[in-house]
Amino acid sequence: MKNFLISGLLLMLASTLAYAGGYRVGAQGQRALAMGHAGVGVVNSAETAFFNPSGLVYLEDRLTISAGITGVFSNVKWQNTSTGQFAETQQDPGTPFYFHAAYKVNEWMSLGLSVSTPYGSSVEWERNWPGSHLVNDIELAAIYIQPLVSVKLSEHFSIGGGPIFVTGNVNFNRNANRTLTDEQGNRSNITVDDSGVTNTGWSASFMFTPVEALRIGFNYKSEILLNAEGGEATFSNFPNSTLTPQNGTTAFDATLPMPAELTIGFAYEMNEKWLFAFDYQRAYWDVYNSLDIDFADPNVATSVNPRNYKNASTYRFGAQYLASDNLTLRAGYYFDESPVQAGFFAPETPRNDANGFTAGLSFQVSESLAIDASFLYLRFKEVDASYDSYTENGQSVPFEGTYKSNAFLPGIGVTYKL
């Protein structure tokens, strides 16, 4: 659980690993995830609280709860054929979770609560690997807490939304540069750590139901900047010299953005057994221009790490089939466009465009309880990429190589209705 709580902020450099581009981790509902994480037009459980709050009012039960957890097993391999170097990330499974609840106040209004971890990352390279001047390891998580209200304005139209409270943590370590060591030969490094960084944002959504079988949804989450102020930066293994920073701690300020996200899409119930969903999502990553870490110690220069992310789109397709009274099968696919631009491929977020293949099922254990399971396989093409913004002596020193990644996200959850 601690992992979840760690979350964070940002830092340092970066970025992170992402399962949906950048450091977005799309695993906020097993039912949706099994359908390509599409759900802006789907109303079938409290997961709707995250995917489209305006749909909550269409849930028929008085109280609906969905909760779940996902294991993120990611692997990244890197090599540089011009030097013969190679490395891979260590296994350090991330565990995004969610808890969504909806309470039907009356026929035209529902209240909801959504707690989830849509942003986070955990990447650990081998210590002092060839890219250690950019990142040794990073752990980042943000918890979104959203009180929600959903109002039915007419038979065909509802609106919903509410504030978003975010708390985040970050821990990031990298080496000071490519060569500096202390007297014993240990590489000089810096750890940036902050926790309990908070900020607020908002979400707004609507759902249009022109005919009973078709729901069209729109959901928008605002941008939230997590400002780590007064975090702790620890300088370790620097030599005893007045020509280098001193060992010890100093405060730092940095800002990590959680970008605004817009989703539109629909769900079409073809018949009693089949439902199809499509979401188009746009994440406004261009807010993530540069990660600047400003150290309180006046002798330590601000660390400027250009990121230059671009806005990125995701296309999600999902299908659901009622196999029997108590078994529902789901499958989906999504294409996830990376916000990382050429020349800015930093190894804390070693993510290029990805194809996600999903599957899952729900098993109705009793009238009120269902078990939801999902599985996501993320496939990345092998990519030759570089990060060109690291400099020494005023000269760009690109960090180049070939990356090959994949990720497996098995998830389990429950849906409870009262």
Partner: protein, 519 residues
């Protein structure tokens, strides 16, 4: 459902095993080829440069960045095996013999309030490398700091008993297989499949770094009579070198040899300029006047000894050295000869001062004249046309404070070094060609460093402290300098053996080390 849930941890475990596969993975040996060479058992022979010596000491970090160790990392991509080195006990680098320190700790660049302190100083600490603590096993890196060519064939060079008497080498004594072992025997016992040999530097370097106080042994074929500061006879070198190559090529599939760089590309000899006698106008006039006085006094002395005045004036004229405002070349002592009876002269443009010269003394008149008030008084007397007494004349001649032989390399010493080196290099290149070995022009490489070698993130030059190529002793290389040697070696090997070994990134190798842990 519970039954299924309990299998989930196993599923998760299985997923961790599903690693992505690169199309052509370096890790799986799918990228590079070894060509005709067999790198499975690489053995490196040589001296301090091969051992990874730097900053006037051998220490772990330097050894890890030795060029043979860098090479072995690349060889490992095409079937190279483990590469063992006789690692020191610490990163201090000092040596003890029966608890008594016999080699100083490494040099570091200290600082004061954000400004570097020159010269570099030894790092503090109790060195833990006791040479009587013998290392067991054989070592792929057979580089022995201090070794000259003929030492590799010398029985007893690794004798512990011989270290105390100065007959043996403390570094080799740590890991020699027996008291009588030779370096080449211990190397051949490992049946190297590939070798490197960089030897001969010390055959001139001991002479050079002593300021030429040793003997040029050219013509003396008995190496057992050589002292450490002597120049090895080129025929002795050639004989030794061909024996080494013969032994090594018997078992190895291939090898690489290195020639000997010119000392004028090494900061130990290029950092202190020979014209650092910087004078203001008045001092230049005074010094010029002083040496006119010297010439005058000497002329008078010769005439009094019965030398014809014209001849006396001609002989003494060489001492009427003139100085100008700005930089002037120093005065050095040279052997007294009939043509230079006073035994000093101004340095010639190509002559060199050593890094170890006392720069404080230079500022106090070492290399020129100690212009004491008494001397000035005599000069004043002379200017007024007076005749100095014998004591006064002697006072003036004694005031000349030329640079000692040990602090400089004069033209004849440089010539001796150059002649020997040229001959060694002809031997090395000839044997490389005759045996089809890869050849590294280390001489050309260090010349390039003198001009500056650029890489992403900087430039390597041979400037002392700041250049990045040479360590703080001014002779040995930095990790980055050794990486440069490794890359040149990889190019030579690829060319000779048809391999396609990749080069390393120079910028990922460090240069000099900073620490204020100095006394």
């Amino acid at each position: 459902m519970k039954n299924y849930i309990k299998f989930l941890p196993f599923l998760a475990f299985g997923l961790m095993a599903c690693e992505p596969e690169l199309d052509q993975a370096i890790e799986e040996n799918e990228v590079y080829t070894a060509g005709e060479a067999d790198f499975s058992n690489y053995v490196a022979l040589g001296n301090s440069l091969t051992a990874g010596y730097a900053d006037r000491a051998l220490y772990i970090q330097g050894q890890e960045n030795s060029y043979p160790n860098i090479l072995s990392g690349q060889f490992a991509l095409v079937g190279g095996g483990e590469f063992t080195q006789p690692l020191m006990a610490d990163n201090l680098g000092g040596l003890t013999l029966n608890g008594n320190q016999i080699a100083e700790n490494r040099l570091v660049l200290s600082s004061n309030a954000g400004e570097p302190v020159i010269p570099p100083l030894p790092i503090t600490g109790e060195p833990q490398t006791e040479i009587t603590t013998k290392l067991s096993g054989s070592f792929n890196n057979m580089g022995v700091p201090g070794a000259k060519s003929y030492h590799l064939l010398a029985p007893g060079y690794g004798s512990l008993a011989g270290v105390a008497t100065g007959q043996a080498n403390p570094y080799f004594a740590r890991f020699s297989s027996s008291e009588n072992a030779t370096v080449i025997e211990d190397a051949l016992a490992q049946s190297p499949s590939f070798f490197s040999l960089w030897i001969g530097n010390n055959d001139i370097l001991g002479y050079a770094t002593s300021g030429g106080t040793g003997v040029d042994q050219t013509g003396n074929f008995d190496a057992s009579t050589y002292a450490s500061n002597d120049i090895t006879d080129p025929n002795v070198f050639a004989g030794v070198y061909s024996q080494l190559i013969e032994g090594l090529t018997a078992s190895a599939s291939g090898g690489v040899v290195y020639n000997i760089p010119n000392i004028t590309d090494i900061p130990f000899f290029t950092t202190v300029p020979n014209n650092a006698l910087v004078l203001d106008a008045q001092t230049a006039v005074n010094l010029t006047g002083f040496f006119q006085a010297v010439a005058g006094i000497f002329t008078q002395g010769l005439i009094q000894q019965g030398i014809p005045p014209a001849q006396a004036q001609a002989l003494a004229a060489q001492y009427a050295i003139t100085f100008s405002e700005g930089p002037n070349r120093f005065i050095i002592d040279v052997p007294v000869t009939p043509s230079n009876p006073l035994g000093f002269r101004q340095m010639q443009p190509e002559e060199l001062l050593l890094l170890t010269i006392d720069q404080g003394a230079l500022a106090q008149g070492y290399g020129s004249v100690a212009l004491s008030p008494e001397v000035m008084q005599v000069l004043g007397l002379l200017q007024q046309g007076g005749t100095p007494t014998q004591e006064q004349a002697a006072l003036v001649l004694d005031a000349v404070n030329g640079i000692d032989d040990k602090d400089a390399l004069d033209a004849s010493e440089l010539q001796a070094i150059s002649t020997a080196r040229t001959s060694y290099n002809a031997t090395i290149q000839g044997l490389a060609q005759a045996n089809g070995l890869a050849f590294v022009d280390a001489n050309g490489l260090l010349q390039d460093v003198g001009q500056g070698v650029s890489f992403p993130g900087g430039t390597i030059t041979s400037s002392f402290v700041t250049g990045g190529g040479f360590s703080l002793d001014g002779v040995h290389l930095t990790p980055r300098g050794y990486a440069l040697v490794a890359n040149e070696t990889l190019r030579a090997i690829n060319l000779t053996y048809g391999s396609d070994l990749p080069e390393v990134q120079l910028g990922t190798y460090g240069t000099i080390y900073l620490s204020d842990n100095v006394n």
